[in-house]
Amino acid sequence: MNQKPSSPWYGLLAEFEHPQDLLAAAEGAYETGYRKMDAYSPLPIHGLAAAVGFPRTNLSYIVFACGVLGAIAGYSLQYWIHVIDYPINIGGRPLHSGPSFIPVTFEMTILFASLGAVFSMLGLNKLPMPYHPVFNAPNFERASQDRFFLCIEAEDPQFDLEKTHAFLDGLNPQEVTQVEH
């Protein structure tokens, strides 16, 4: 936001009626050599992220790490309380009652992993994001309902307003519009 956009346009947006048209268009654009693009759809479409050149998400590794952190935090909290900070003999049970510490450790594992899943998903997606240029496009409100969009961004080295427009027209879309910043 703070850096000046190099072009007055954010990109070119093509609208499709069917998900498989969008998928084919995204694959076609990638083959033609476009790299800075994104597709917008009201439902998850299998293979669409790969088609716009996005590798597999590494979310699961983050979640796993959060889960391990939660397990360590949960167990060590109980160990520290009952063995180090305030050792007290209750009913002759050992200070370090391992099996009794498992339920809380388990719950903390799930809690940390779930928080990690939600907040890293939102963080990596840079949400919440109140403003985005694609919302300027006419008819884009249907991207959350029943229309499918492909946006080739102006930052792409191959982007050329006329050539890219002609390319998108060739994909048989409903409409192609220029998206302002």
């Binding site: 069917h18 498989q20 439902l43 719950e107 949400l127 403003y131 991207a143 959350s144 029943d146």
Partner: protein, 458 residues
């Protein structure tokens, strides 16, 4: 690529009714419940009933805090009464929501998509009602923080992590947090649909904030789908652990009738049973009021009835096992406990329980019953009552006569016990009524994936 574009008619998928054939109809139908000025009269009635009962709840709690837990019918052997009964009842109801949204997702049961959102809402509100009881049963909940939460304080007091009661605190608070996150994350794309369909500026802004600027980017969907799948994978063991830990509140003690190893699976089955009965109790009127027959079809009613039938039989096995173990253990106290439970002063509760939970639900073997909404609704009501009686029997009949006859006593609930219980039902009804009118009742983005041209290829 234009293969589908040439098709003039696509039959609806088997999970939906005949009216839902395109992305457009789904968005329109679900948004029309919220983005409209007209509200059904029955919605207002439900809101008024719920709100009035919240008043009852407030009075009951105010009197409790002023006077102390003596206002309830507790006495020396029965130190746990309605508070724990209602806690277990509510939390059990909540489990069906997680089961539908997480476990059925992992099993790829696509029919779940039209009921998972409202079942998750039911979970959140039921857990809110449940969590209230352990807090208020202390009588002085502002002091409860010392033994509930591990926070550093000047008196150096820590919770006792060897106690199942503290496991419960962690289990229920984790369960609530994870359910809330799962519910909210699921609604983000649907809030975006509402934002984009809203005509009114304020509505647009409110849903715009709630949707967090979701724009349906393919890269976002990729991470979103992964996060949903992982949350489902995490929520599945979580829901099983929560009710197991609830059952350990009883099973870790040495009270006859509580100290049994079958409790964790038996409690989990009971939770599923009670929860599905409550889902149907809510869905049957809801689909009638909002004409959701295309989304909640007879197939949904049938599938849920079958889940109830199976979990009900497991619960029946649990009752049988309690009797069997009382005999097989050759323990005087165990066998007295079961004899007292069946033929003692609370015997009529036990036989009502058997009627509600074992006998009446056998009607679900009949297909006509499973799809006849009126009969099914009545059966669900029997199960709702039966599952409450089950917790009453487990708690009260085990405690009121244990080892020493000199300390036997009867438990009689007072009007404040009932007021608190009925008050939480009002809170639940009120919150659910607000949810129906203000939030996406059906997961639109998941329903869209059921349509043939949106189908994912695996």
């Amino acid at each position: 690529m234009s293969e589908a574009a040439g098709k003039s008619y696509t039959p609806p998928p088997s999970e939906l009714g005949p009216g839902q054939t395109s992305h457009t109809t789904i968005s329109e139908k679900v948004s029309s419940i919220v983005l409209t000025k007209s509200t059904p009269l029955v919605w207002f009635c439900s809101l008024v009933v719920g709100f009035s009962l919240i008043g009852v709840l407030q009075i009951a709690i105010a009197w409790l805090f002023y006077e102390g837990v003596g206002v309830w019918g507790l006495n020396n052997p029965v130190g746990w009464g309605f508070a724990i009964i209602n806690f277990v009842w509510w939390i059990g109801i909540g489990h069906a929501g997680t089961l539908i949204s997480a476990v059925l997702l992992l099993f790829r049961q696509k029919w779940r998509t039209s009921i998972n959102r409202s079942a998750e809402a039911m979970t959140i509100f039921a857990v809110m009602c449940a969590a209230m009881f352990p807090l208020i049963h202390t009588g002085r909940p502002w002091l409860a923080a010392y033994w509930l939460l591990p926070y550093p304080n000047s008196m150096d007091i820590w919770p006792q992590f060897r106690s199942p009661l503290i496991w419960d605190v962690f289990a229920v608070s984790t369960y609530f947090t994870v359910s809330l996150l799962f519910w909210f994350v699921g609604m983000i794309p649907d809030f975006a649909t509402f934002r984009d369909r809203a005509k009114n500026v304020i509505t647009q802004k409110v849903f715009g904030v709630m949707s967090m600027g979701w724009r349906g980017s393919a890269i976002h969907w990729e991470r979103y789908e992964m996060a949903s799948l992982l949350l489902a994978g995490l929520a599945t063991p979580l829901v099983l652990s929560v009710h197991s830990i609830v059952s350990l509140d009883f099973a870790m003690s040495i009270v006859p009738g509580w100290h049994t190893t079958i409790f964790p699976p038996y409690f989990v089955a009971g939770a599923i049973y009670a929860g599905f009965a409550m889902v149907l109790t809510l869905m049957i009127p809801l689909r009638r009021i909002y004409d959701l027959y295309d989304f909640i079809t007879d197939r949904h009613l049938e599938n849920m009835s079958k889940v109830m039938l199976v979990s009900g039989l497991i619960v029946g096995y649990g009752y049988f096992m309690e009797q069997y173990m009382a005999w097989y253990s050759a323990s005087t106290y165990e066998s007295y406990m079961i004899h007292n439970r069946m033929f003692g002063p609370y015997g009529h509760y036990y036989w009502t329980l058997i009627l509600c939970n074992i006998i009446v639900p056998q009607l679900l073997w009949i297909k006509h019953v499973r799809i006849n909404t009126l009969v099914l609704f009545v059966v669900c009501m029997f199960i709702n009552v039966g599952m409450w009686l089950e917790r009453f029997i487990i708690v009260v009949t085990s405690l009121h006569r244990d080892y020493l006859p000199s300390s036997w006593d009867m438990f009689h609930p007072t009007i404040w016990d009932w007021a608190t219980y009925i008050g939480t039902m009002g809170l639940f009804l009120f919150l659910f009524t607000l949810f129906v009118r203000g939030m996406p009742l059906i997961a639109m983005h998941e329903i869209r994936t059921l349509l043939p041209f949106g189908k994912k290829e695996h």
